[in-house]
């Protein structure tokens, strides 16, 4: 039993806050909607039939539990800590995103909503949302930055095949944050029939807590599986962070296991420098208010939001979930950054040693594993979250490695 007074798992408070982070910074039009959502979610959370439906679909539709896999050759190559991967890239649709989407769509159906909207960066959340909407016959509209539409063409086509309408967002700078702005504008306009399915642990309360709860299946399974494999807890958890939903899902069930080190890996882009060519909100930003919550943001002196920069479209967001901001401030989790170059090296090493083509997002987590594992003893256990598969990224990677995919002559590994 957890000691409640010293628990890290009791947040958010009634105001939707984790410390000073989180909250409900939305326009009045949306306020009644998020209050209704909170009430309905609280009801569903304690309803066995809700979780029974989730469990059934997690098992038969998503393919859970995802394996906890001992990466033996990678471990040997790094020559230090034992590396395990939580294989959420094996989920239906190829990433962790569907864990959360299932929960929100089942909730939306209970609330009688018939139209689902979502924002997407890399397209993984968009694909997961389009997928579940197709399964339930719901209308689906996905907002995606025009720049991302271009660099994630396969996912755009997937969403269209699944019957979703993909709206390229050109307002602002046409990136993930602008896609979120446009999704909020849609919601504020279509308040009666529309459910906004947010893809990460950000946004106004109750989204950060709700998305975390749905993604926590990752950490719950990992804990049990690690117990079966090693008879104990892992020593270190590592996950990549854009908004932070796969990380929060892995971390949350371990927050009160205080011997477990928790490390979140932000996208360092070209390096966390004054030119802001990165997406490391915690290491390079400061607290501010955007998209319904207070959290660490990339912003200028005047409070204007800056564009992030990363090779990975899924990490390309100038903010981070408020619970991460809080875990950072109280020191329960440590946050580091990894550059594009380091992530690309990890991507290649993973392909070569494990026969797994990782997405660029978990490649950041893996790059940090590569950094620390060699220095750690052989009985130190690392569990990293392999939160997505890399099929969507092969064009981006080829481009960065100077390979002409059309010609087919380039050699990736040397």
């Amino acid at each position: 039993m957890n000691d409640l007074a010293n628990s890290f798992m009791t947040g958010p408070d009634e105001q939707g806050r984790f410390g000073i982070f989180g909250g409900r910074f939305v326009s009045e039009t949306l306020m009644p909607l998020i209050l209704e959502l909170e009430e309905q979610y609280e009801r569903a959370k304690t309803d066995d039939s809700f979780w029974a439906e989730m469990d059934f679909l997690w098992k038969h539709y998503v393919g859970r539990p995802s394996p906890l896999y001992f990466a033996e050759r990678l471990t040997d190559r790094l020559g230090g800590a034992k590396v395990y991967m939580k294989r959420d890239e094996l989920n239906h649709t190829g990433a962790h995103k569907i864990n959360n989407v299932l929960g929100q769509i089942i909730l939306a159906r209970r609330m009688g909503k018939t139209r689902i909207i979502a924002e997407t960066g890399a397209g993984q959340h968009g694909v997961a949302t389009a997928t579940v909407c197709a399964k339930f016959g719901l209308k689906c509209v996905v907002y995606m930055g025009a720049h991302d539409v271009e660099r994630q063409a396969p996912n755009v086509f997937r969403m269209k095949l699944l019957g979703a309408e993909v709206v390229p967002v050109t307002s602002g700078r046409g990136t993930l944050k602008d896609a979120m702005n446009d999704a909020l504008r849609d919601w504020v306009t279509n308040v009666r029939d529309t459910f906004y399915c947010i893809g990460t642990v950000a946004g106004p309360h109750p989204y950060p807590a709700m998305v975390r709860d749905f993604q926590s299946i990752i950490g719950k399974e990992a804990k049990e599986q690690m117990h079966e494999a090693e008879g104990r807890l892992p020593d270190t958890l590592i996950a990549a962070i854009g908004g932070g939903s796969n990380a929060m899902g892995l971390f949350y069930p371990f927050l009160d296991d205080k011997a477990v080190n928790i490390i979140g890996v932000e996208a360092g882009g070209k390096g966390v420098n004054a030119k802001m060519e990165h997406c490391a909100s915690l290491t390079g930003g400061r607290p501010g208010v955007l998209h319904g919550n207070r959290t660490y943001l990339l912003q200028d002196e005047d409070g204007q939001i800056l564009e992030g920069f990363s090779i990975s479209a899924g990490l390309d967001y100038p903010g981070i979930g408020p619970e991460h901001a809080w875990l950072h401030e109280i020191g329960r989790a440590q946050y580091v950054s990894i550059t594009d170059k380091e992530a690309l090296e990890a991507f290649q090493l993973c392909c070569e040693t494990e026969g797994i083509i990782p997405a660029l997002e978990p490649s950041h987590a893996l790059a940090h594993v590569m950094k620390i594992a060699p220095e750690l003893p052989a009985d130190h256990i690392i569990c990293m979250n392999m939160c997505g598969r890399g099929d969507k990224d092969i064009f981006t990677v080829a481009k960065h490695l100077g390979v002409d995919m059309a010609g087919g002559e380039g050699r990736v590994m040397d």
Binding site: G23, R24, V26, G303
Partner: protein, 263 residues
């Protein structure tokens, strides 16, 4: 009593409706925008709503968002917006100014510092779109304590149960958002707005001003006739966005003001 309270008291005594005009500070540049602002009172504007540019205006449509981008590209900041208000106040000490925007630039400046500077510059009230009553401790209560009005939005989704909460810490006037949606979108219909205004007035003595979706002298007149006044924003900002000179923009503003005042 703020300039806002005084203005509404005067209008009420004269039996006149209020006309509120919105422009974005620094759009397309600070000098032009100050020229337009200085001409607003003579064009019949009773209350000036001055937009504070922000990169991510989630409640605004493309017209206002583009105006904010133009302003930011021309170097506008919160500090320069306050400078613009001070410059305006040199020649006008009566017209109420409401600063309208989003919380982050204010939060970045620091609430206490901002409130002191805003009051010193001659700002009378604030509309901060992303601060609902649930977040009153952030800025609303400190602003009221500092003597500034905090004007809240009420919307079609604000039901009777919630309305008292929305009205509780509101001062100056109540801004009724006539549609569910963003600025510059669908047109408001007086027939739909009238019962909503009555619903709000049944619970408050504050003036109720209606905005969103009003773009012509005719709609300004018809909406103002069922409320205490109306706000026009996007339609004015669009004129500036089309590159019209300040004199032409002000002539359009006058036609809107005349419409509202004939209600």
């Amino acid at each position: 009593m703020t300039r806002i309270d005084a203005t509404f008291a005067r209008l009420s005594a004269e039996g006149k409706k209020a006309f509120v005009a919105y422009i974005m500070a620094g759009d397309p540049d600070m000098a032009t925008s100050l020229d337009v602002m200085r001409g607003l009172p003579a064009a019949g504007v009773d209350v000036i709503e001055l937009g504070l540019p922000f990169t991510d205006p989630m409640a605004d449509g493309p017209t206002i968002q583009l105006a904010g981008q133009r302003a930011l590209e021309a170097g506008m900041t919160l500090e320069k917006t306050l400078e613009m208000v001070r410059a305006f106040r040199e020649g006008d000490s009566d017209t109420p100014i409401v600063l309208m925007g989003y919380y982050n630039p204010i939060y970045a400046r620091g609430v206490d510092r901002f409130l002191a500077e805003a009051q010193d510059a001659g700002i009378d009230g604030l509309i901060v779109v992303d601060l609902p009553p649930e977040e009153d401790a952030e800025l609303c209560l400190p602003a009221q304590a500092a003597g500034l009005n905090f004007i809240r939005l009420a919307t079609p989704t604000t039901d009777d149960k919630r309305l008292p909460k929305v009205l509780q810490n509101t001062s100056g006037f109540v801004y009724y958002v006539s549609i569910t949606g963003i600025t510059g979108a669908a047109a408001a219909q007086a027939a739909d707005v009238a019962p909503e205004v009555a619903r709000i007035k049944a619970q408050t003595d504050l003036p109720v001003i209606v905005g969103f979706g009003i773009r012509s002298p005719e709609s300004a007149e018809s909406i103002a006739s069922v409320a205490d006044g109306c706000v026009v924003g996007s339609a004015i900002v669009a004129e500036l966005g089309a590159g019209k000179p300040p004199a032409d923009v002000l002539a359009f503003v006058k036609s809107l003001a005349d419409g509202a005042h004939s209600a």
